[in-house]
């Protein structure tokens, strides 16, 4: 089994707000992130796939295909977007880095027929990242 990781970047804005909370609760739980005017990040995404190395090509996965899927399913959908307003997963869900990693996993897993998805890692900042392994 070999693991291959591909990295890409996207920039997006968001805010954290639960309409079932009072304004005070939103401010207490989410702090500055609750500002409804939003703010943004440069996100770094690392997608790790796993599989046996194909003896004919020496590849775990065709990187061109992986890159195309990443561009289509993730970058085109998220880059330079407002996550709360433009990405359907976040119409009701709060676009935390946790939920973003899960949403990216779900988008990729449906489309990634060329290899098995192992991990989605999303950096919101260089000192903060979330890993999702598809665990329930």
């Amino acid at each position: 089994m070999v693991y291959l990781t591909r990295k890409c970047e996207f920039s997006a804005s968001h805010y954290y707000h639960n309409p079932e909370f009072t304004e005070e609760e939103n401010r207490r739980v989410f702090g500055k992130c609750a500002n409804l005017n939003g703010h943004g990040h440069n996100y770094t995404l690392e997608v790790t796939v796993k599989g046996a190395v194909d003896p004919r090509t020496g590849f775990v996965v065709d990187l061109k295909e992986l890159k195309e899927i990443l561009n289509r399913e993730v970058i085109d959908a998220l880059d330079h977007r407002h996550l709360n307003k433009e990405v359907p997963e976040f119409a009701k869900q709060i676009p935390t880095t946790e939920n973003l990693a899960i949403a990216i996993w779900n988008r990729l897993e449906k489309q990634l027929h060329i290899a098995k998805l192992h991990r989605v890692r999303v950096y919101e900042l260089p000192d903060l990242f979330v890993d999702f392994y598809g665990e329930a």
Binding site: L128, F129, V130, E135
Partner: protein, 135 residues
């Protein structure tokens, strides 16, 4: 859904790797430059990984402010700008980064209970790092 969250922190400390029961030559053989008598220092980068179910109300594994406060209070305030050798945590123990990562893990496991502590990873320099997790 279960997710893993990792946060990175920086602290700086000095240490000397040396055991009194060894001769100077033996210390030099085992620890090399790290046994120089006056010690030396590092900028340590600590990565703390916690895991848990993502709370549907908040979208979070745990509140980051609470994690930051716990790590600052229990780890950074304790180990930043100190000489590790004189701390009670290292009485009778050599302050290698292996031992430091185990101590950091044990302290955080006791003091931060809002999520499951998966792992600590400690970079002593950009070239070497150590990971400790519960068995």
């Amino acid at each position: 859904m279960k997710a893993h969250l990792t946060r990175r922190y920086i602290f700086s400390a000095s240490h000397r790797l040396h055991r009194d029961e060894l001769t100077e030559e033996q210390n030099r053989t085992v620890y090399g430059k790290c046994s120089n008598p006056y010690g030396h220092g590092h900028n340590y980068a600590l990565e703390v990984t916690v895991s848990g179910q993502v709370d549907p109300a908040t979208g979070m594994v745990c509140n980051l402010v609470e994690l930051d406060e716990a790590v600052r209070r229990e780890i950074v305030d304790r180990f930043d700008h100190v000489n590790l050798n004189i701390l009670p945590e290292f009485a009778g123990e050599v302050p290698t980064t292996e031992n430091l990562s185990a101590i950091v893990f044990e302290i955080l496991q006791q003091s931060f209970t809002a999520a499951h502590l998966e792992k600590v990873r400690l970079e002593e320099t950009a070239m070497n790092s150590f990971e400790y997790c519960s068995t």
